[in-house]
């Protein structure tokens, strides 16, 4: 079997987990597969106990650190796959998200969808867990559209609500971004020397109490996006910045019509090739990256948490 099996289990209680997940893991261990379980702390401890000594052969990771943001999560799975290149892979994946902003919910839905494409050729069985009692309906709805198979009563069946990844990605990027607030600060970018832009951003970021490592993330990500606009976009190029809850948002706009791939920059580029590094790096650095391109030009909006 050389293709990805990507299933979802929406559970209502611990018994659902034990009835489905424990046999799923045991089957993988019995077949000598590389087995990874990512879950919330209570579920990890419950599964460890149920597996007994078998749990020694399972790699466990906490959802809270594994699912920080989509690009890093994909990078985590890519690393696990690379480390176990010769084995068939089996993963229990519980994102553990309960809620989020509409943009975050869309982005996580896109993430689940990208998995189908990015890892299509990986010989792996992935069972995703969603707690129906606590998870935001928008996330549950997204999970229904992004898993080709659904597990109910310990039996998988084909999911009729599944949508093609290109359709999911297009729907995420279809909604226009809300306009920047009136208080947003702005700076035109009319020089390829971006040190002035960085001083401007760093000054405002510190004013908002952003920590030093996050300021650096913001500067590296913005420099990359601005460089891209200078090299491939059209003037006028501008930068705006504002605070939104705990995040600082930086937006770079230009008058060009960038037409990126349908799923640009989510998957780690091939180590043998250096193309595609920039946007992937930007996504690694930011909590959220939103791209919009249309007749009015191209907009890239970066969200970086202050802490």
């Amino acid at each position: 079997m050389t293709r990805l099996i990507h299933q979802v289990l929406m559970y209502d209680n611990e018994k659902d987990i034990l009835d489905t997940v424990v046999p799923f893991l045991q089957e993988g261990l019995g077949a000598g597969e590389a087995v990874l379980t990512v879950g919330t702390a209570p579920n990890l401890s419950c599964l460890r106990q149920a597996l007994g000594t078998d749990s020694d052969a399972v790699e466990f990771a906490d959802s809270a650190s594994w699912y920080v943001q989509p690009t890093r999560t994909i990078a985590n799975y890519s690393s696990f796959i690379a480390e176990n290149a010769t084995a068939r892979i089996r993963v229990v994946a519980e994102p553990g998200w309960e809620t989020g902003t509409p943009a975050q919910i869309s982005e996580w839905t896109r993430y689940e969808s990208i998995i189908n494409e990015a890892f299509a050729d990986i010989s792996a069985s992935v069972l995703c867990l969603y707690d129906r009692r606590t998870t935001h309906p928008g996330l549950l709805d997204g999970a229904l559209r992004t898993h080709p198979e659904i597990v109910e009563g310990a039996c998988p069946r084909c999911n009729d609500a599944y949508l093609d990844p290109a359709a999911v990605c297009a729907s995420v990027d279809r909604d226009p971004l809300p306009p920047p607030p009136p208080g947003a600060v702005r700076l035109p970018i009319d020089d390829d020397d971006l040190s002035a832009l960085r001083s401007f951003l760093a000054g405002h970021a510190r004013h908002h109490g952003m920590s030093r490592p996050r300021v650096n993330d913001l500067l590296v990500a913005t420099t990359e996006v601005a460089t891209n606009a200078i090299r491939h976009g059209r003037s006028p190029i501008g930068c705006q910045m504002w605070r939104e809850d705990d995040d600082l948002i930086v937006q770079v706009t230009d008058a060009g019509h960038w037409q990126p791939d349908p799923v640009p920059g989510f998957v780690p580029p091939d180590p043998g090739s250096l193309s595609g590094f920039g946007l992937w790096g930007v996504r690694m650095l930011c909590a959220l990256v939103q791209l919009r391109t249309g007749p009015a030009g191209t907009t890239v909006r970066l969200h970086v948490p202050c802490r």
Binding site: L219, P269, P271, G272, W280
Partner: protein, 291 residues
Amino acid sequence: MESWFTRRSVGELLPGDHAWLSYHGREEHDHVIGAFLRDGLAGADKVIYIADDGRAELPDLRSRYRLEPETYLRSGQLAILPQEETCLTRGVFDPARMTTTLREVLDRAETERFRGVRVTVDMTSAFRRGSGRDGVLECEARVEAAISPSTMAMAICQVDARSCTTEELIALKERHEVLVGADPYFDDGVLSITPTFHPRGLRLSGELDGARHAVFAESLRKVVDRGGEVHLDLAGLRFIDLGALSMMAGAAMHLDARVVLDNPSNELADVVELVSSRLLPWLEIGDGEAR
């Protein structure tokens, strides 16, 4: 505790500077001393090279800078003085003789109406003769006394670091107020790129982004062409963009060289670590030590 010293690139040396160079190989020696001689000859300075074994010590000015030493020797602007005639007495290093020679040289240059005087002397073999160490240290004190008040003379004392003990090097270094190093390949006030020789590589300071990728690529090519492991000292680098990191990885990948990033700030190391897992297996973080 190196804060007592002033570090200057060879092009920044000023009259009155009695500078110190401990080189780790011919390449570094020729790079720094070559620039010192070229700047003097191309200007209107008298240039004096006090050599242990004559012409062989001189950097190849012809291939490096298309300067013909013969022309300058004939005109008297360049003088190569053997140590035997300038600072040895019966084969033993003689500080008093060296001081006399130096004073004569300075006086003569003044009457010959040169703009300035540049003196360089390699102490490596002097160190090994008779009362070497103490003689050299005494001599250094006298050179300091002769050069420091001068408004037209500057000097570089050199020693091959590989032939001295650490204690000897420290003792010698303490006799100098200025440590001289290579001129930067590039410096525009925002970014400076300077070659390093021990370990071999580049020292980057300031900010490196897309506006300076081209000059960085050129400098990187120069150092990669020198072969072997490449160290990039990032201690003074406040910012680096993803494109420049990618160029470093590209150099390592295409030329099969090891590229080590030394002394990055915490923020910079975080970025490298974040993106390195897959894309940049070619780069590693180091502490400035060659392996």
